[in-house]
Symmetry: C2
Subunit: 350 residues, 2 copies
């Protein structure tokens, strides 16, 4: 059902299930570099033939990069496969939905991917669990150097890396973190983060990036412009100012709940547990919302008998494509609601 | 804390916890007789002194009625005691809230009570679990005869028993059943019952009668006028037409859910179970609503591991006065929400 070259079954997605620094609040760190290949028009102006040439080029080169990547032609795999890639954050929603020649190269541990013919010819991205932006920066730069050794990037001495969208021109870097902010939501203070993000010219987005809802209290926070700043400046701001502030907001909301509204908090967490282990029908959105509260309960030691790894893994497994992949067949929405509830009860040992 | 003459602690309230014919849908059967004492003005026109005389009269006579009743002067017992009597349906909400001389005589097994100086001088009522209207009719008539042998009732040869409110004049009888109609609510068909009730000049009321909400899908269905009909006619209509129709509506809704929306039904029932056994804060209204769904699940064999007696007992125990009585102290609303959730988890063995 899934491309046999992608060892999805054997492997959890480390960035969401794994542990990392400040992992209770900073779920994952991601850096994406937008790159274009000299001699080709930008994707939106490229012909079908030119797009195919780019896909072929990367399909041929990528297996040697980063210790061996797997290239996936998105036009030949199934819709379910494309959804799986999206749910693992290896491709974007736009890339999943596209129809023209495009693909993605995926690194062995799934922390690295190179989208081909998304908005830019190449979008290199690396994802790691917890707050590991500096490590990710180092990692993605190494890959970027490897790629650049074989591919001639579009580069202007005046502007830097040329990109299809002006907001990416310059360094072409997007730094982002996936944050888990359940206490801020329970305290009704998410708007505080939203305002702070806007003031710092950052974007606060949902679980699956641009245009997606904040599901289960998971938010992606990323920089919006890259021109006029060095990569290091952008990174430093994130690591030294942005992340510590948001982590502090969330921690303070958690403390406030623990000290002043502990009964309410425990009730919310336990109700989530009760519903997850009892429901017979459950949507992705509700499952993520309830898992989010259980995750909070675990982080605050309000639940002790719960398998944390199972909860984190379910954040991925309860999503439609993963669910169908695990069950082993395509299902409509109603059937998925039953299968999801069953899977959750099984995995939580209820 | 509770009047020592009332053996509440030792005894469950049989009408709600006990078994009876069609008990899954007809929770209990009740008949109430409105009677007034000749030689006294109706309660609303009686002086304080006259009311006191009536209270004294019944306090003196009632211990010999129905094999021995306990008389409670509602002006001398605590507010919690009055609430306990209300929750057991031994007095009405209006009687609980009153301030002028009034009381209630309660039969040994709590199926019988005589309210004194409620709307009428005497309101005799008998309550039994399940559909037992004819047995209740027989029982209350026996008590009525006993009382009439000692008390001179206001009676007109033309109109029958004279009562404070014209709707009760005649037989002074109110026949009512407490119905559990969760499937009709889940199917959105409660209005069907409401319309049918209106067409038959019946009143459909909430858990605690007049002016109360339908909590936990429990409804009281009763006749509205008594003039121009014999007691037997009223009773026959109830036993042969009204109850069988409503039971049929509810059964058909249950069948429809079981056959066409079983997944939805199981989900509702199991979610209720999950919340009851997990919540740390719970209101009376929510508890009754969830217990109602679990009760439905038990009746339809969707839940097997659940103690049905515990569920039925909790319908009473989760109410504010009973809860405080069980815990052994007065509590504010917030504290009750915690105590209620704890009690429910304990009693359901969670």
């Amino acid at each position: 059902m899934i491309d046999a070259n992608l060892p999805f079954e054997a492997q959890e997605s480390e960035w969401i299930s794994g542990e990392g620094p400040t992992h209770d609040i900073v779920v994952s760190s991601r850096i994406r570099l937008a790159r274009n290949i000299a001699g080709f028009p930008f994707v939106n102006r490229a012909t079908e033939q030119e797009r195919r040439e780019i896909v072929s080029l990367i399909a041929q080169k990528s297996p040697k990069w980063a210790g061996g990547m797997v290239f996936i032609d998105l036009n030949t795999v199934s819709s379910l496969d494309r959804h799986l890639l999206l749910e693992r954050h290896l491709i974007s929603a736009g890339h999943m939905r596209g129809t023209r020649p495009r693909g993605v190269a995926v690194g062995a541990d799934q922390s690295l991917s190179v989208m081909v013919n998304e908005e830019d010819h190449l979008r290199l991205q690396m994802l790691r669990p917890g707050e590991q932006l500096r490590q990710v920066f180092e990692g993605i730069n190494k890959v970027d150097d490897e790629v650049e050794a074989e591919i001639d990037y579009s580069f202007s001495n005046r502007f830097g890396y040329l990109t299809a969208c002006p907001t990416n021109v310059g360094t072409g870097i997007r730094v982002s973190v996936m944050l888990h902010l359940p206490a801020l939501r329970l305290c009704g203070e998410i708007d505080k983060v939203r305002r702070a993000a806007r003031d710092m010219q950052l974007a606060l987005r949902g679980f699956h990036g641009e245009g997606s809802e904040a599901t289960g209290d998971f938010y992606q926070l990323s920089n919006q412009t890259t021109l006029g700043k060095t990569e290091e400046e952008i990174l430093d701001t994130f690591v030294e100012v942005v992340i510590p502030s948001v982590v502090e907001y969330e921690k303070s909301a958690r403390n406030s709940l623990m000290n002043k509204r502990r009964g309410y908090l425990e009730d919310q967490v336990w109700r989530a547990w009760g519903l997850l282990t009892s429901a017979r029908l459950i949507s992705t959105t509700e499952a993520l919302q309830l898992l989010s509260l259980v995750r909070l309960g675990l982080n605050l030691d309000l639940l002790s008998h719960v398998d944390e790894a199972a909860v984190n893994a379910l954040l991925l497994q309860c999503q439609p494509a993963h669910l169908q992949f695990i069950v082993g067949r395509q299902m409509g929405q109603g059937e998925r609601a039953v299968a999801r509830a069953t899977l959750i009860r099984e995995r939580l040992g209820a």
